[in-house]
Amino acid sequence: MTFREAPGQFLDWLDTRSEVGFSNFLFIDQHFGSHPVLRRIFSLARQQGYRSLLLEKLDESSCGLLLEENEALSIRRPAFTGSEAIRLSFWRCAPWQPAEAESFIGYAICKTDSFSDSKPGRFVYEAVLTTARRKEQNNFVHCARIYDVQTQVGRQSVRGVLYAQQNDLTSVCAHVALRTALACLVPDADVTYAAMNRAIGVDHRSRRVGGGVGLSPPDLKAIIAQQGIACHELIHEPGHGLTLGTEFQRDLYGIIESGWPALVGFELGTPGSGQPSARHIVPIFGHSLNDDAWTPDAQRHYFGSQRSCFSSENWLSSYLLHDDNFGPYYCLPRHFLGRDQFRIMLGLKPHVTALNAHDAEAVGLEYMRWITQQIPATGCDWYDRFSIFSQAGLLVLRTLLVGRESYIEHLNQVASWNGTQIEGERIGRLRGMLPERFWMVEASAPELFAASRRKFGEILVCASSGLPQPLNLDLMIAVRLPGILLLRDSARVSSFQTRLDWHTPILVRDPA
């Protein structure tokens, strides 16, 4: 039984309103050893208007996961004498008031391990809180999950991304980063450290972790594979003659925008200082956008970039992540981690793709150039504008993996500003030739994308076939642009006129 499901022993339900004098700092100082991550979690709860705190004690006899963790710990550290696990849950209602569904903000498990030969170790075993900022604040978390929590005052649900902190004995930063990322994708929305350690032979006797011993990239990939998840790996190891020619953020964005999480590993300290450098890895699961970003234009005009399109990633402001050292839901400004620090990205994918998002985007751009060479103008204003932006190298591209039904639903919904929709017959024709999943490269103009989240159209690129050498049209599935639909068949690309001859909304996933 998990920490969420285990029946807790009631300790207290405190009124935490600031007007009654409750101080998060004082409470954590007095009861949880001034724990910094708890301060972060309590402040997130305060930010969301929490008015009460329910405290429950969990027991090994009713929480199988706690028992499993303690058994592993007693092997790893024979001086281990026992642990105390407290479930803290945060509410918008006052104590003893009926707890409505919207009252529940989330929960945290604080575990304190005692040892006969050293001070106790305290850490946040897990926490799930709702995100304080949502799409209205330009924050997008596409892979949050719903967690049910059984408390003394009833069963509650919280939608969020699971946070976890290492104990540096049976789990290290790679374990907790993997736990967060895998929890976004696996059916049970969580993975135990015992399962991870079994997958890579960590038995706490012949192979141990903690105290400076962590997991290697093959360990990380083995754990991901064991959960049936595919992985897009990107490595930058200049010290080993492997230098990435592009910014890792473009690949990272392709993963995040497709609704999946990624792990980003980096080197600590000052590279080149001669000191042996440690490494850290964090899970990234969302992003924020800035509609008024100056950088896309400035990069091209002032700093000599010869790019032939804009990636929509240019408008990204920050990536959203957990850092087990500091707590949940931090923002990592785009390009804060540069080539000096970045070493590895593992993008988790629930489906195997032969092509990654970055390459699909490059192929999509190449196909668009060819289309505008073949059909430079149609007389439709918005197609002709698309053609002009394409020929000038000023298209904005946004690439994400979509499923057939999700795309068809999108087509059934999109409309021009005068309400015109694409003909059902055209959608039916398209549906018949779509694979289960494919890359969709949306094409827009800077002002159209940033201000109104609309696009000229999209090109569908095959995700299951590798890149032909040299590149040919084999990866093209279909193209939809204002007033025209292009379908690839064996020897040619057939064109069909459509009445939808305006720009249309981009595909929006359901963000938390």
Binding site: A174, V213, L215, S216, P217, P218, L220, E233, L234, E237, G239, H240, G241, L242, G245, T246, G265, E267, R279, H280, I281, R300, H301, F303, G304, S305, Q306, S308, I344, H358, D359, V363, L365, E366, Y367, R369, W370, Q374, I375, A377, T378, G379, D381, I388, F389, Q391, A392, G393, L394, L467, P470, L471, N472, L473, A491, R492, V493, S494, S495, Q497
Partner: protein
């Protein structure tokens, strides 16, 4: 005190030179100018009384007419090379 027009003119030229000599990308300037000109031509063409839409969209385009650019081939080759090298680099502990 009246500031002579020549002052502004010289400042303007100076700023322009700084941008162009140090960082302003001629290719992007050209692309932006091309975009503006093309959009103006598009708009102008629509208000001409004699304007008629282009001839019918071709029903089919032969697939073999596609020729990849040197840029995409170079880019994809670099990505392939990097991925192949990366398979043999498994360093770092996290």
């Amino acid at each position: 005190m009246e500031i002579p027009f020549a002052f502004f003119q010289s400042r303007s030229i100076l700023i322009s030179r700084i941008f162009r000599s140090h960082s302003f990308s001629p290719a992007v300037t050209y692309a932006t100018d091309q975009l503006t000109q093309s959009l103006q031509e598009l708009t102008a063409s629509r208000v001409q009384a004699a304007w008629v839409p282009p001839s019918a969209i071709p029903e089919g385009i032969p697939a073999e007419s596609f020729q990849p650019s040197a840029e995409i081939e170079r880019y994809l080759a670099e990505r392939r090379e990097h991925a192949a090298k990366a398979e043999n680099v498994n360093v770092g502990i996290y």
